[in-house]
Symmetry: C2
Subunit: 271 residues, 2 copies
Amino acid sequence: MCQLLGMNCNTPTDILFSFEGFHRRGGLTDHHADGWGIAFFEDKGVRLYIDDKPSVASPVADLVRRYPIKSENVIAHIRKATQGEVRLANCHPFMREAWGQYWIFAHNGDLKAFTPPVGGRYTPVGNTDSERAYCHLMNHLRSRFASAPGPEVLFDAVAELVAEIRQHGVFNFMLSNGDCLLTHCSTHLHYIIRQAPFKAAHLVDDDVTVDFATVTTPRDRVAVIATQPLTDNEVWTALHPGEMALFMGGEPVRRERLPGPLAPGACGCPA
Amino acid sequence: MCQLLGMNCNTPTDILFSFEGFHRRGGLTDHHADGWGIAFFEDKGVRLYIDDKPSVASPVADLVRRYPIKSENVIAHIRKATQGEVRLANCHPFMREAWGQYWIFAHNGDLKAFTPPVGGRYTPVGNTDSERAYCHLMNHLRSRFASAPGPEVLFDAVAELVAEIRQHGVFNFMLSNGDCLLTHCSTHLHYIIRQAPFKAAHLVDDDVTVDFATVTTPRDRVAVIATQPLTDNEVWTALHPGEMALFMGGEPVRRERLPGPLAPGACGCPA
């Protein structure tokens, strides 16, 4: 399986601290060494960096670690290949444009016998189950909405399709159009909200501490979402298996357990 | 206006030497300081780096200068804004997916009173004339072909539309799907083919020389295409105003002056 990292904020924020720990799981503190990627929204634009090298050995990851890109929505992914060989076209996140917005998607999981219809507006470039699911999702949304749906309508439309897709296997994902960040948890996803009064946080994967009180303003609010908690001195909230969550302005504005079954073994299986 | 750089090769090749000169035109040896970008195809995947900082001051350009990414098709662009403010969403190259291929586009020019129909499969995210032209082109191709057209058919289909678009102004562009690289010259585009016997080349924009004989094999062939020649000791070929060229395997396999008028002032005007 892979690991996911997301950030949703009420003000453009850099992700350096979280990425510092996260990228070490790509080949150093964990075994997700089959490529990685990260996408940063800047207003409507997107910086998308993908690399088929392990994130701990990637010159692109070095750039991200040194370049404090400020963004309100970030999605990152480190890959442990299950379906699709190790190559650039199979690295997440994936990007497509719909209704004049970029849409970014990353998936952690493994969908078995999942062959959605082809020939819609969006077609996978690589050969992962993840990109198939993403294109299926985007084809569904595009055929249903003539213009970009608002976040609540988006939640309901995605939920319908997720209930179908997750019957094929583990389907933890993150999706963002730059306005909101939508997640689904099949097995493991945790989040933390950082807001005033800010405190110091210490990474699990490296002996690094940041005192957020020194780098924030009192009105900042940041949600960080990750497969596994990234810090060891803060309380992270686990999403329930089968739950979808919508993050806006640095907090979860809607959390809902979707009706319908998860795939056998999806619930609570080891990451 | 902006400047364009393209590379099309018969074997994956790094673009470090050409990029070294080209990126200096983004704010140092020339005044194209409103952002820049570069896209590298790796098989079907794409590394797309864009930045709204001048390329001479961009940490992302530093990465590209240090990381010898090998690619058969590259498109780069440094921006001097004419339409659309300086922001990430307006940086070229632009990327869309069609028929399971990524398509990359960059434009140098200025299209006046150009308002193609909206509501197709592709919609601009930013507000440049360039992205409008790109989406118009891709909408046209998608509505015409159920699967990806071959290079010759692509040439003819693009040529039809270019004859229409270029009546609105200067429309130098590069387009690639990773298999071939298509260019149109309204004003200035030059190319050089490097093949055995390889020689040394010296940059215009910096006192840097590379002896390609030491870094190539006898069967390598590389076409480099740029708004203005990048070296001062090689003979570059100028495309004619009004000419389209198709590059494959490191050489122009088709060059054709398109019938029909160029926009007033487009032919031969200063870059």
